[in-house]
Amino acid sequence: MKQVIEINHLTKHYGTHRGVEDVSFCVKEGSIFGFLGPNGAGKSTTIRAMLGLLRFEQGRIQLFGKDIQKDKEAILREVGYMPSEAMFYPSMRVKEVVQLVADVRKKDCREEAAKLCDRLQIDPEKKIRELSLGNRKKVGIVCAMQHRPKLFVFDEPTSGLDPLIQREFFALIREYVAEGTTCLLSTHVLSEVKNHCEKVAIMKEGKLQCVDTVAHMTKTSAKRIRMVRDGKQEDFLFKGDLNDLAKELVGHEITDILIEDPSLDEIFLHFYQ
């Protein structure tokens, strides 16, 4: 299967401040790829470099096999992006913002936009300044989806959305992905990655910690250890050779020990901390 996103050794600094360092990963066509990390991990910097909003010092980013620094306009025609802030021109109506995006894309998206507005329960007549964060997010979703792009890039899409709309949003993603669209989902909500993504990249402090399938990550060598050592209760995640742990325990009084596979949440948090 073709790779839709290929990021190789991306490095970006903001003056002396760290942005991201040596980030590399690929996203294959027709998949939902989770991009996970705590606030300030470098997820948005990576995405913004990927869309040509930021210049970067080192590395190469290709979308659909084209270089973002050379073919930005052609690439963005096939991308539907929803920024985390979801800000639009406050004096415009929802329908005007949606139409503006369609006009820039030179596409008639009225049918698809009407369908999306209906499913996400947006009033197209409302002014942007009257909308809550959640409703602005919905407008962002319509703008990103109405032209049926080949790639969705969502940066923290569900913050502010109520659970019913979140469910509808993921149902929409699955429908488009079933038709061949690829989706990069940047989030710090672990359950979203667990429930919807096939593969995940985890960022921390500007560096990529790991890229793996969600299924494979559950089979990690890390173990949750709960024990009572020398009368004290201990609970920790251990990654490494269990023989080393056994050697460390020699000479201690172990009254109880439980070794189990960690939950996916624990694995993610292990990378976060």
């Binding site: 903001y14 948005s44 913004r48 869309l51 040509g52 909003l53 930021l54 210049r55 930005k72 306009e73 052609a74 690439i75 963005l76 025609r77 991308v79 992006y81 920024p83 985390s84 802030e85 800000m87 639009f88 021109y89 406050p90 004096s91 503006l100 995006v101 006009d103 820039v104 894309r105 962002g140 703008c143």
Partner: protein, 263 residues
């Protein structure tokens, strides 16, 4: 490109109407006021023309404010020059920086349109709005002349307003370049610059030692009293204005085209 141009035009047309009605309306009111103050102006004209540097600064030595043309050049010329300059500064300073200030830059620049095309579309919107502002104001001034049944010195009138358009475009371009640098809408900076350039122009007319440096301010070549009295424009100042305009637009492209845009 045309979509962004249309979007910017629609976003600013209310502001255009407000400024045109205010500045043009004030100019029209001044013209209409002339018939009621004409007699007293005849007596004052001589005094105003003999106030030394003050008369030079406001062009009252070259033109008599007892005539409608002289009154127009000194009074309406000042209102239109300052009002137009401020309108151009407001348009220029906000046009690019408003995207980052309003956190809409990610929305706009993630659409499939080259940054250079956005910069050009926004610039042409500034130019169009300045042109329309001047046409609306000129319409109101012509209405004033017709209402009083007075003859319009067509050549000087067109030359003066042509230079005013050019001056406002130059001010708009300088502010547009500033806008490319700024992450916040620096409206105060733009308006302050207009007042500074106007004040500088007055000073160069009052202080003889500064006369050689008056070409720095765009108000020097778009001065109503100079144009209406001589029927010509200052060549050097206009050329300098054109160079400043081109360099400003080039800078706006270079700076904004290469900048990392804030969310």
């Amino acid at each position: 490109m045309i979509t962004i141009y249309g979007h910017e035009f629609k976003s600013n047309w209310k502001s255009l109407l407000i400024w045109a009605v205010c500045v043009g309306g004030m100019g029209l009111a001044c013209i209409l006021l002339f018939s009621s103050v004409q007699e007293s102006m005849a007596g004052m004209a001589e005094n105003f023309a003999s106030m030394g540097a003050f008369s030079d600064a406001f062009g009252m030595r070259q033109l008599s404010i007892a005539t409608l043309t002289g009154f127009y050049a000194t009074e309406v010329g000042t209102i239109h020059g300052l009002g137009g300059g401020m309108f151009a500064a407001i348009l220029g300073t906000g046009m690019l920086s408003k995207e980052e200030d309003g956190h809409t830059s990610e929305f706009l620049f993630s659409l499939p349109i080259a940054r250079s095309k956005v910069i050009w579309a926004k610039w042409w919107a500034v130019v169009t709005l300045i042109l329309l502002f001047n046409l609306l104001c000129m319409g109101l001034y012509v209405l004033g002349f017709f209402s009083l049944g007075e003859h319009i010195p067509v050549k000087e009138f067109l030359l003066y307003h042509g230079m005013q358009v050019f001056m406002q475009i130059e001010i708009g371009a300088i502010c547009y370049a500033l806008s490319a640098w700024m992450k916040k809408n620096q409206l105060g900076l733009g308006l302050g610059m207009v007042l500074l350039l106007y004040g500088y122009d007055l000073m160069t007319r009052v202080i003889p030692d500064l006369a050689d440096y008056k070409v720095i301010s765009p108000f020097s070549y778009a001065n109503a009293a100079d144009v209406f009295s001589s029927g010509t424009v200052a060549g050097t100042a206009t050329v300098i204005g054109a160079v400043v305009l081109v360099v400003s637009i080039w800078l706006a492209h270079v700076v904004y085209g290469r900048r990392d845009l804030a969310a």
